[in-house]
Structures are given as C-alpha cells and as structure tokens.
C-alpha cells in the first residue's frame, strides 16, 4: 500500500463527476465534481447544512443521486456488479458521526464483525488483531469486553475508528471525527489519523468543522457551498481565497486563535 502511495499513481482513488442530489424540491448537491488522490488526507469543510454529510453518504451509497457518476478505486459504483461492489466496500472503512457501534455487541465483537464476514481467520488471530487495532487507536486491551454504552464519547470514536480499520482498508471516510471531543482529545485524534495514514498508507476523506484538524491533519482541503465545490487546495490557498465564506472561515476570530 505505502509503496503505491509513493509510486504516485495519478488515478484518483475517488472520482466524483456531476453529482446531483435532490430531496423533494431542494437540490442539495448540484453538479458537483471532486477528486481524492491516493494517500492524501482530504479535509472537507463547508457551512452547516451545505451537504457535506450528504456527499459522504452519496459516495458510500446510502443516499441515492439524481445524476452523475462516482468511481471508487476505478470502479464505477453504478454499473458495477454486486461482487465488484462488495470488493470495493471491503476496501473502505466508514466512521459515522455518532460512531454507529452495534450496541448489543462488545467492543471486541464490533471490531471483529467485518472480519468474520469477509475473512476466514482463526479466533486467535482475530483476537490478537483486535488488540493490535485497539492499541493503534490508543485504547487499552481491557476495553475489548465492554459494551458501547459503557464507553465515553471519545472512546466510542476510537473504537468506531478501530472498527472502520478492521479490514485494513485503503480508504476511510471520517464524518466529523473530532466533534464532541475535548480539544486535547481532538488533537490526539488528528495525530492518530496522521499516524495511521502514514503507517497503513491510508487515504482519508474527512468531513470536519475543526480548524485544528484542517491545519494539523489535512493535506488538502475542499470547500462545499451552494451544492458545488467552491474551492480546493492547500491551507495556504484557502487563506488566500477571496470567497466571502472562506474569508470569514479562515480569517475569523477562531481561525486567528488557531493560527497564533
């Protein structure tokens, strides 16, 4: 995986073309185009209600689109066969905003759930990999036998990340991973995402509101507004942009506090 990253394959890992999504009469996404390159951490920002989560859910296939095409790992998700699609799904991991852990399963069972489904490995290896994943996301192995209702908010996010990573995906979607975490916890989480991206050669698609995450974790930033990508580029590009919302976002009081 990591070799491919450095090999610099030019094909984008996600290719979104002219996506339109409509709920009733309201058009949420309107002819949106987006590329996510292999091995990068893409931060995805935009005002509340602009459709960030909708785009994520559209790419994953949870929200139907009216028009446009989506290619992930070079597979067009509309024309792909079921087995192709399963293959793609096996290679991505999703971290939902609220964690979406299975509440009736323990942490260990949650992390092993995709493994049981997709891999034929021994219980011993699954248990060991579970501990490895928990260690990677900064949790102690003792957490493994707790139920999600016995975890704190930050731990739920970490366990959900461990579950998203359980099949060693090439691509992870993170929907506001640091929301609801204290600033130190959020900082740790950004660091964690960076480390995992480095060690596992991940590509990360991160929806976020957190300026700190944008500064510390992301390689590239895309901004959503009026159903389109209004800007995409490095943090420096964003700061140089003249778009009113971007100016407010990156030059507001909070942004200055983060910068200093």
């Amino acid at each position: 995986m990591a070799q491919e990253v450095q090999g610099g394959i030019q094909n984008p890992i996600i290719r979104v073309r002219d996506i339109t999504v409509q709920f009733g009469a309201t058009r949420v996404l309107d002819g949106l185009n987006l590329d996510v390159k292999r091995g990068e951490i893409l931060g995805f920002v935009g005002p509340s209600g602009a459709g960030k989560s909708v785009l994520t859910r559209t790419i994953i296939g949870l929200v139907p689109k009216v028009a446009g095409s989506i290619e992930v790992f070079g597979v067009d998700l509309d024309s792909s066969s079921t087995s192709q699609r399963r293959n793609v799904e096996r290679r991505w991991g999703v971290l939902f905003q609220q964690g979406a852990l299975f509440s009736s399963l323990t942490v260990r069972q949650n992390i092993q759930f995709p493994m049981r489904e997709y891999l034929r490995v021994s219980q011993r290896l699954m248990d060991e990999i579970t501990i490895a994943k928990l260690t990677m996301v900064g949790l102690k192995p003792e957490v493994a036998d707790r139920f999600p209702s016995e975890l704190s908010g930050g731990m739920i996010k970490r366990v959900a990340l461990a579950r998203a990573l359980s099949l060693d995906p090439d691509l992870v979607f993170l929907d506001e991973p640091t929301s609801g975490l204290d600033p130190i916890g959020a900082g740790d989480f950004d660091e964690l995402v960076r480390t995992l991206q480095r060690t596992l050669g991940l590509t990360v698609f991160m929806v976020t509101h957190d300026l700190d995450s944008l500064y510390t974790a992301c390689d590239r930033i895309a901004v959503l507004g009026n159903g389109k990508i209004i800007a995409a580029g490095s943090i420096a590009d964003m700061q140089a942009s003249q778009h009113p919302w971007l100016r407010q976002y990156f030059h507001g009081k909070r942004a200055r506090a983060v910068m200093s």
């Binding site: 990591a2 299975f102 509440s103 490995v121 290896l125 501990i131 139920f147 209702s149």
Partner: protein, 377 residues
C-alpha cells in the same frame, strides 16, 4: 512479485533464517497463519534467528502482526529473533504492531454449571425485584396523580388526548373485528354442541355471560397489552437510551408526571371503552351466527338475552377493565424506564412488557373471579 505469500527456510549454518515473500495481507490470513505456525516449530537450537522480509510485496496489519508473532515465538532466552530487510514504508507499521501486548483474552461467555445456577438464582431474585418495581411505579403514579388533582392545570392534557387517540380511537377497528369474530366462533361452537340436546337457545345464555363477564374484557386487555403496552415500552425505552428522560429531569420535570401519567390515564380511559365496544361486537357477531347458522331470529335472541343476563354481568366485566389497564400501563412503563443503552436491551424489555402484561392481566382476572364469586355477583 505480487503473488502468493511464502515463508521459506534458508539454511545459514548455526543461524536460522526465514525468508518471507509475496503478499502478506488479510486476504491470505489463513495461509499465513498456517505457515507461521509451522515456522514456530523451528524455534530453539539456533544461536541467532533472522526473518528476512525484504521480498514482501505488500504488508498490512494482519501480515505485520503475524511476522511479529513469529518473531516473538522464535525469541527464546538469550536468542532474540531479528527482522531484517524491512523497507522504510513498512517500518512504522511493524513498530506499531510491536507495541501490542498480546494478553490472551479470556472469553467470559463460556457456559459453566455454577454460571447456570447463578443465572437461576438471579432470575428468582429478579422476580422479587420486578414486583417491588411495579409497586414502586404504582406509588409514583398515584403520587403524581394526587399532585395533578391538587393542581389540575399541571395535567398534560394534550399529551393525554394524543395517547388516547393512539390507544383508543386507532385501536377500535382491530378490536371490534377480532371480538366480532370471537363472538361468531363462540356462538357457532355453542350451537353445534347444544343442538344435540335440543338446547340451541341456551347458546344465548352462554354467549351473554361469557362475553360480558370474561371474554370481552380479557381479550381486549390482552390485545391492548400487545398493541399499546409494547408501544409504551419502546417509546419510553428509546427516550431513555437517548438520555431524553435525563434531560427532562434536569429541567425540573418529573418524568412520571410528564410521560407516564398521561399514558396511564389514556390507557385507563381507553380500556373500558374498548371492552364495551368489544363486548357489543362479540354479541353482535354471536347473534348473527345464531340467526344465520342456528335459526335463532334476532327478536328471540334479544328476548332470551334479556332474561339470561343482568346488569351485574356487565358491571363485573367493565369494572375489571380500568384495573387491567393500570396493570398493563404500569408494567409497560416500568419496563420502558428499565431499558439500558443497547438495542438488544430495548427488545428484551419490550418482550418482557408484553409477556408480563398479559400474565398479570390473567392473574388479575383470576383474582377478580374469586372476589366476585365470594360476594355473589
């Protein structure tokens, strides 16, 4: 190079050297595990151990962990196994995996005899706790009821009316349909068997007494327990799961007064109405069958009905309804508020709500039967 994974032994005098090649990823995990297990048997006897991974084409957490597992089991005493030829790309992954403490996880879900005995003990103790919980809730609801009596304006009228619509008005079609059919069946069976004695007309007595005293209210109560008791438990349970009940409490509201009392009131009002409608539908159905199947024309049916039953039968039936409603409501609310954080728990408590609700309804019916028999009604 992107082929099947292999682990080969390269003889190097006194040293043990293993060479890993190919793709070491999750999809090959079963093969990899077997190879590593075989290689583990080579442990011991060598002065130095090397695992050469320079030929590995692809590595993920599964592969990295298996190499680490091999390294650990080949490390014996003073001989430490070394991983050689690690490319910089994968170095951080292997380092990461090296930090993992391989504490064997104890599976606590194994079934033992003591565990089963413990479970039985807990269940028995749980019965006592259930009864205490019901009495507790009854007290809380009555206390809230008295507070509302003193300050009638604190009654949640909108909520009560909303629940009344849900449990009463919307239940009418199904309750009427089912009790109608039961009335038909009772009359048909009665006529079929009574005809042998030439006692066709006594089917009216049986139908009237049975429907008004027992079947009408019991059947309706069981249906309401299944229909509305489960709904109450699920509603309160999901509110509990999402901390909505805690939110109410912190705002200074009493969840009993805001959530439980309107539901209880609605149920206590609804059940007598439904029981009455159910009894009428059953009598109508029975009368219809008696006419079409037994040849008892409506006039004769009504005359006989007037002789056979007194107002006592009707009162005996209808008096039970509010009490049964209270039992169903209290069971449902106790179960709803006992829901813990998981979806499974919600399911368990909803099931328990219906099962216990129906059980207590039948127990209450028995108690009433003894009571009415002893006062001669």
């Amino acid at each position: 190079m992107n082929g099947d994974p292999k682990l080969e032994r390269i003889a190097k005098g006194n040293a043990l050297a293993l060479c890993a090649t190919g793709t070491w990823t999750a999809s090959f995990a079963p093969v990899l595990e077997r190879m590593v297990a075989d290689a583990e048997k080579l442990a011991g006897g060598s002065q130095s151990v090397f695992i050469d991974v320079s030929e590995v084409a692809k590595l993920d957490t599964f592969g990295a962990w298996l190499i680490e597992r091999l390294r650990r089991s080949l490390t014996q005493g003073a001989v430490e196994a070394q991983i050689a030829g690690l490319s910089t790309n994968y170095a951080s992954l292997v380092d990461e995996v090296r930090r993992v403490r391989a504490t064997p996880v104890v599976d606590s879900s194994t079934i033992t005899i003591t565990g089963m005995l413990e479970q039985i003990g807990r269940t028995v103790a749980g019965v006592g706790a259930t009864v205490a919980g019901l009495i507790d809730m009854l007290g809380a609801v009555l206390a809230a009821g008295f507070r509302v009596l003193i300050h009638p304006r604190s009654l949640r009228l909108t909520s009560t009316v909303h629940h009344l619509e849900q449990v009463c008005w919307r239940a009418v079609p199904i309750i009427v349909l089912i009790t109608f059919l039961i009335g038909c069946i009772i009359a048909q069976q009665g006529i079929f068997h009574f005809r042998r004695f030439g006692a066709d007309i006594f089917v009216v007595d049986m139908l009237g007494v049975l429907v008004l005293r027992e079947i009408g209210v019991l059947l309706v109560a069981i249906m309401v327990a299944g229909r509305s008791g489960s709904a109450y438990t699920a509603e309160l349970g999901s509110m509990k799961m999402r901390e909505e009940i805690d939110a109410l409490r912190t705002m200074g509201f009493d969840p009993i007064e805001v959530l439980v009392l309107p539901r209880m009131l609605a149920l206590v009002l609804a059940l007598p109405i439904l029981a009455f409608l159910g009894a009428m539908a059953a009598l109508y159905g029975g009368g219809l069958v008696a006419w079409l199947y037994g040849g008892v024309d409506p006039e004769a049916f009504l005359l006989r009905l007037r002789d056979a039953i007194s107002i006592d039968h009707f009162i005996v039936g209808i008096v039970k309804a509010p009490v049964m409603a209270a039992v169903i409501g209290i069971v449902a609310c106790v179960e709803g508020l006992a829901v813990q954080g998981s979806a499974e728990s919600l399911g368990q408590h909803t099931t328990a709500s219906v099962v216990k609700g129906i059980f207590f309804v039948i127990v209450m019916d028995g108690v009433f039967a003894i009571f009415f028999a002893s006062i001669g009604m």
